[in-house]
């Protein structure tokens, strides 16, 4: 489903070169739920950006559903993100000036889906995450847990191959964290492939496999459960 080979990322800041990723390789199969862990500066954010096709590697290969995406241009990457990847961020990243229904519709707008169909799919997704009664509300009118449910609904509307969650519970309390993690597990049981980027064990323990990064290299790659 997803395969990276010898992926590196070097940031240049004037004369100084920072090697954020020093050539890492792994494969993730369809239906897996994987946690990527590591301390700050370990390169897990960089890895997440690369896996999410938000950035390009300095060298190495990245195959997503058989597509070689490492060398694509900006607009092609935008298409890949739109078609294959659903993002869930720590900061929720909802558009504050529009209703939550419109927020969930945004990926469908860029996919060119007609308005009526868009509205129908987005409504269904919000009902699925238990927010069917809040369609017209604005992001600032709902709780953090609800915001993250909206973000999950938004990540799901394009039926992506991969859900990429970056510290999805980092801004939530313990009880809400449990709820959100249950949503992820349910999605995984329904067959969705999920990658969780986190530094919290309580989040990582929901995954079936944990990849530890230290200093831009894979320290451990272990299957739990």
């Amino acid at each position: 489903m997803l395969k990276i080979e010898n992926l590196t990322k070097i940031y240049k800041n004037g004369e100084i070169e920072v090697k954020a990723l020093k050539g890492i390789s792994f494969e993730i199969k369809k239906g897996e739920m994987v946690a990527i862990m590591g301390p700050s500066g370990s390169g897990k954010s960089t890895l997440m950006h690369l896996l999410g096709c938000l950035d390009r590697p300095t060298s190495g290969k990245y195959y997503l559903k058989g597509n070689d995406v490492a060398g694509l241009g900006d607009d092609q990457l935008a298409d890949i993100r739109n078609n294959y990847i659903g993002f869930v961020f720590q900061q929720f990243n909802l558009l504050s000036r529009t209703s939550i229904l419109h927020n969930v519709e945004v990926p469908l707008i860029y996919a060119g889906v007609k308005k009526n169909k868009r509205r129908k799919i987005a409504t269904e997704m919000l009902e699925k995450v238990g927010l069917g009664h809040r369609l017209k509300h604005y992001p600032n009118e709902i709780s953090g847990g609800q915001k993250q449910r909206v973000a999950i609904a938004r990540a799901l509307v394009n039926n992506p191959a991969l859900i990429l969650a970056d510290e999805p519970t980092g801004n939530l309390d313990t009880k809400t964290e449990e709820e959100i993690m249950r949503v992820f597990r349910d999605l995984n049981e329904q067959g969705h492939t999920i990658i969780l980027v986190t530094h919290e064990d309580s989040v990582a323990e929901h995954a079936q496999r944990i990849i530890y990064l230290v200093d831009g290299e894979i320290r451990r790659d272990e299957v739990i459960a």
Binding site: L54, A78, R81, F87, V106, P107
Partner: protein, 403 residues
């Protein structure tokens, strides 16, 4: 997709009403000023030209010529050139001329009791009334009989009566005119109506006597000052000028003794002057459109910076460069076209108000409105393109981590 983008743009403009209004202000003022200026200039032009047309656009003034001074000779005005017989000859030999009216003028003092006022006496014929569309309000104008007999009668302009008589009816009394160390006494037989000041002079502060009386008493010669020739129609005025010019040149053996001025030429001059005024003023107004454009660019740049994170989110969700570009471009276009519409309305109201005060017709030409509005759209695209490109080029990773 386009409709969706327009909706997003309007929503984001609506959420910042005050800022939106302020950034539109330049465009509003620019478009409004262009429309108001052109409408006001057109209105005054219409007013002036219609006044001249009222004077009779078929009138041609024949004046004595002025010779150029050279080799120590002073420039001189031809004297003793026009006679009543010459006027009759012009009327007879120029087919496009229907009438020739003699007009002589002398400036002196009218004396009434203790009051006196400096004013002109004009010697002319009965036809002077019709040619100038100028008639007595009280009493009567002098008649052909008065002309034939060089009667000692006078018709006063309305302002003269106001100054010298106030509310007293002067008809039937006598008035004294002091000119060139001589005193002349006339019987007042009429008072003229009030007439707006024309290009040929002030009607209201003059007095009118038969030309024969003028020649006998005041100038004491057989030469007259000028002629007013009336062409058969305004269209024939040009031909009439050519005919008179040809005839007088032959008559005098040169063209230095006379000069011709037609209302048509005057109209052309005025149209030219107001035209260039219009151009200049609307040019100045257009500058404020440019300034307005800079205002829009400024606000769009602020908006791009402020919404860096939003741009990052949209890109993460699959927005391509052109989606972001069109979103911001449409936003600046919406801003400038809204400004344009409000400007058109305000310009129209302004022109309407000034036209009401000035008393001239409200003339707003469709091409002006279309031009001013399209210019505001052009400004929106021109000044919106840079911020929009800047937004479209943002790196999603950097944009997403922007605080």
């Amino acid at each position: 997709m386009l409709l969706e983008t327009i909706k997003i743009a309007i929503r984001s403009l609506w959420s910042n009403k005050m800022r939106t209004l302020l950034s539109m202000l330049g465009i509003i003022i620019g478009v409004g000023a262009v429309i108001a200026v052109i409408a006001i200039a057109s209105g005054t032009q219409e007013q002036v030209t219609s006044r001249i047309a009222d004077l009779g656009s078929n009138l041609i003034t024949i004046n004595k010529g002025t010779t150029r001074g050279y080799f120590g000779r002073l420039s001189t005005t031809a004297e003793e050139v026009f006679t009543l017989e010459l006027g009759e000859a012009i009327e007879e030999f120029c087919p496009s001329v229907t009438r020739v009216i003699p007009k002589s003028q002398a400036s002196g003092y009218f004396i009434m009791g203790d009051n006196n006022i400096q004013a002109s006496v004009i010697g002319t014929t009965v036809e002077y009334q019709n040619a100038n569309k100028y008639y007595p309000e009280k009493g009567k104008f002098f008649s052909q009989y008065d002309l034939d007999n060089a009667s000692n009668v006078i018709v006063l302009g309305s302002e003269l009566v106001d100054e010298l008589y106030g509310d007293v009816n002067p008809i039937g009394s006598k008035i004294t005119f002091y000119y060139n160390k001589h005193t002349f006494i006339f019987n007042i037989i009429g008072v003229m109506e009030e007439k707006e000041r024309g290009i040929t002079g002030d009607f209201n502060s003059s007095a009118y006597i038969p030309i024969t009386t003028y020649l006998n008493m005041i100038s004491n010669s057989r030469y007259i000052g000028s002629f007013i020739a009336q062409a058969a129609s305004a269209d024939e005025a040009g031909q009439a000028v050519e005919q008179i010019e040809y005839m007088l040149t032959k008559h005098f053996g040169g063209d230095e003794e006379f000069s011709l001025m037609s209302q048509d030429e005057l109209l052309d001059t005025i149209t030219e002057v107001t035209g260039s005024m219009k151009l200049m003023l609307s040019g100045i107004a257009a500058i404020s459109l440019l300034v307005g454009g800079i205002g829009i660019m400024n606000i769009m740049l602020v908006s791009v910076t402020e919404r860096t994170r939003e741009i990052g989110i949209r890109k993460a969700l699959g927005a391509k460069r052109r989606n972001i570009l069109s979103q911001f471009l449409i936003e600046s276009l919406t801003l400038s076209s809204l400004g344009g519409i409000v400007g058109v309305i305000i310009g129209w109201l302004g022109a309407f108000g000034v036209a009401q005060i000035g008393g001239w017709p409200l003339i707003i030409s469709v091409p002006t409105v279309v031009l001013a509005f399209s210019f505001s759209l052009l400004v929106g695209v021109f000044f919106g393109i840079y911020p929009a490109i800047k937004a479209a080029k943002l790196d999603p990773v950097i944009a997403l981590s922007y605080e």
